[in-house]
């Protein structure tokens, strides 16, 4: 009795993770399968060239703030504008 009680839990401890791994694998396969069937996102290359705006870090509010001063600068230096 005592011997049987000791060996059985040890046996379960070995089996449970093994079963768990196998089940997780099956679940992953199922997820992959359903993902391919329904939730696909198709990405196609644009037909126009991608324009990278180099001055993208210049904010519109900055431009608006600078505009009155810049207008004066241009008028005061109109020989180079």
């Amino acid at each position: 009795m005592k011997v049987a009680k000791l060996t059985n839990p040890a046996c379960r401890a070995h089996k449970v993770p093994m079963g768990g791994v196998r089940r997780a694998g099956t679940a992953m396969m199922a997820m992959l399968g359903s993902g391919m069937a329904a939730g696909c996102i198709s990405v196609s290359a644009p037909d126009k060239p991608i324009v990278i705006e180099l001055n993208i870090n210049v904010k519109q509010e900055v431009v608006y703030r600078l505009a009155p001063g810049a207008q004066n600068t241009i008028e005061e230096n109109s020989s180079i504008f």
């Binding site: 324009v51 705006e53 001055n55 870090n57 210049v58 904010k59 519109q60 900055v62 431009v63 608006y64 703030r65 600078l66 505009a67 001063g69 810049a70 207008q71 600068t73 241009i74 230096n77 109109s78 020989s79 180079i80 504008f81």
Partner: protein, 130 residues
Amino acid sequence: MNTGFTRAALALSAAAVALAGIAAPALAQRDPAYEAARQSGKVGEKADGYLGIVSGGDAALQKLVNDINIKRRALYAQKAQAANATLEAYALTAGCLAIARTAPGEKYQTPDGKWMTRTSADPIRDPRCP
């Protein structure tokens, strides 16, 4: 003696004012070669605040454009620092305004880099332009 001095000083300052009056518009005018290059569409205003050669362009024209752009850059740098802004931001702002003040027939660059001839209609500018 005193009145004589005052009169002389007054005359001198009057002469200085007259001289400045003559000198200021002369300074503000474009160099004839630059004006001609603008009118003929050889050079145009770029979207980034600098002058550009539209097509071709010999060494003399290249030098003219470079000289003006060096002066513009120095000016932008000085004014940007005073306004606590970046050189790029100030140059872009000046570019917006420089394109806006082009005369019909002159060239300007759209934000996507194409050269356009200014008409009486509003120019195509960067969406951030005021």
